[in-house]
Symmetry: C2
Subunit: 341 residues, 2 copies
Amino acid sequence: MNSEDRRLDVLRAIVEDYVATSEPVGSRALTERHHLGVSPATIRNDMAALEEAGYIVQPHTSAGRVPTDMGYRRFVDRLAEVKPLSLAERRAISTLLEDAVDLDDVIDRAVRLLAQLTQQVAVVQYPSLRRSALRHVELVPVGARHLLVVIITTTGRVEQRTLETAGDLDEALVAQLRVRLNVAAAGRRLAELDSALRALPDEFTGPGAVLARAVVQEVEDTLDLDREERVVVAGTANLARTAGADFTRSIGPVLEALEEQVVLLRLLGEMAEDQVAVAVRIGRETQHEGLVEASIVTSPYGGQGAGIARLGAVGPLRMDYPGTMAAVRAVARYLTRILAG
Amino acid sequence: MNSEDRRLDVLRAIVEDYVATSEPVGSRALTERHHLGVSPATIRNDMAALEEAGYIVQPHTSAGRVPTDMGYRRFVDRLAEVKPLSLAERRAISTLLEDAVDLDDVIDRAVRLLAQLTQQVAVVQYPSLRRSALRHVELVPVGARHLLVVIITTTGRVEQRTLETAGDLDEALVAQLRVRLNVAAAGRRLAELDSALRALPDEFTGPGAVLARAVVQEVEDTLDLDREERVVVAGTANLARTAGADFTRSIGPVLEALEEQVVLLRLLGEMAEDQVAVAVRIGRETQHEGLVEASIVTSPYGGQGAGIARLGAVGPLRMDYPGTMAAVRAVARYLTRILAG
DNA sequence: GTTGGCACTCTGAGCCTGCGAGTGCTACCG
DNA sequence: CGGTAGCACTCGCAGGCTCAGAGTGCCAAC
């Protein structure tokens, strides 16, 4: 066996043992738990080399080694393949998700399920509007001077806004506007909406034009890319379980990050650019202060007409990466299938 | 001064000091920090009596006293009045909430605000549908065999469900059904809907009756009291701050309870029966395993046409009750005002 | 390149001890 | 009879100390 290969095997063994026991792992323990075919002394030499290369560190002089962020990264990159879930697990995912009654319910079930499977914090982003198309816009007068604008997308998502009008509403005008709006906008991707709607107000005159402009503005505002996206979170209690061991300070910063939609959305957005099926960010790679002691594993889901978004799991650096990656991938696949059906 | 009164003053002082320092408070410290007008020896006698009565305990023989659940309860019940917030705080609440664009936004802002003000976990229940009225039902054909049912209430809340139809949809029939449905249902309280809608399908014949029955069923299902309610949570990171001191085991059970809508809804429902402006549940009074080391302070908000619901704050037993109660009450009032306007 | 041996380092558990906070009791005072 | 002062007593906790055990690095030998 190539000695370079063995070193990576040693790294793999260290990561696995450390993940399992959460204690620094020494050379003797390694030879006992894995059959590497060499003696502890040899392992020690390899460990010295791995430490030199920055993959592992010792917390103090006479302790075993612990993987660094870089070590985990190497470990993850070197995983040949993600092991599949058991048949029973896959079946459970499938039936659970199929029983959902609407989009909200699907997402809710998916996020809980993922938290359960990974024993970590699960996050699921709502299907993005950016790639989905508009199905219908509904205008509902509310009292004399308020207009409720309801926007329905091909993903079954519904957004609403209330609009205060300058003058009293004319029912006939509203009806006309509704028709024109739907003719102009229905079936359009949201990204194209801007140009499709721009000319619309010009078709009306006087108060009609004012109203039309206001409604168009409102539709665009509602679909504004910043506001369109939402992430739901579940399983935060899983963080508390290993709190002392895995988070030196407190889980506070992690909880804060998870509550900030903006942070999660940025992170998910960045991970979308990785162009791999299951993306992983480890420790500082998250580029977020509160998440330096955490890792996140995500996968895209959806696609086709259903819009595209990501879901994933957040946990400690010392995470079961293969298992988490498998679960994330599996839930993403089933969710994609459900949304397409 | 009556000696019974003094004992309660002593209790109050113990609670205040313990909340401030999180350390058991002794007789000497009490006389120094509060001007009770008596010597430590007298305090000791009072403490012995308070301990006898079950209001306080000592963690171990030679330590100060700590309030029991019962002690906190007595303390809270005896608070003559809730101190108001500062003008600046009230103004901040007011302007923050007024800038909200829709119901979701109002609730979102309110829950974050409350978490911020109390430095605890804030919970806000969506305005209940039970007392609100139906404003409009919209039917939107989606493809040939799916019908999207959108239900809009007077509180501005929007619920939706997708319905799969037996045969292909007839646009004219849908339009007719929409009109009839709105005539029959609009303005009705949700509790009365059942009787208002029951006769509706009989007005139609053949496939129309089938469709009408399905739609009515769907409307009723959607508004089914179990599904109608939702609670949003913010500020969980505040739990982590004092984790070690205030939660002997871990904050895990608390986080679990907060993620379970069912638990929160039951608790809020029970607290609604207390018939007081600001209700408090302390430790075991929550009747929930995971919350034995937590307290919750809630207040109703809304009312009139806006539906009625509760909001509140969850924190450790060792909580600033007066401050939390003031903040909860203030946010409830402003929220009520915003929703009515 | 691998291995066995060995001296060395360092942490963490366990034990001890003295300090200080806080109590309860008793005798005394107004 | 309630309040006070003094005092002996209890007990947790911080700090210091030791010791065993785990783990390392290095060196000489294979």
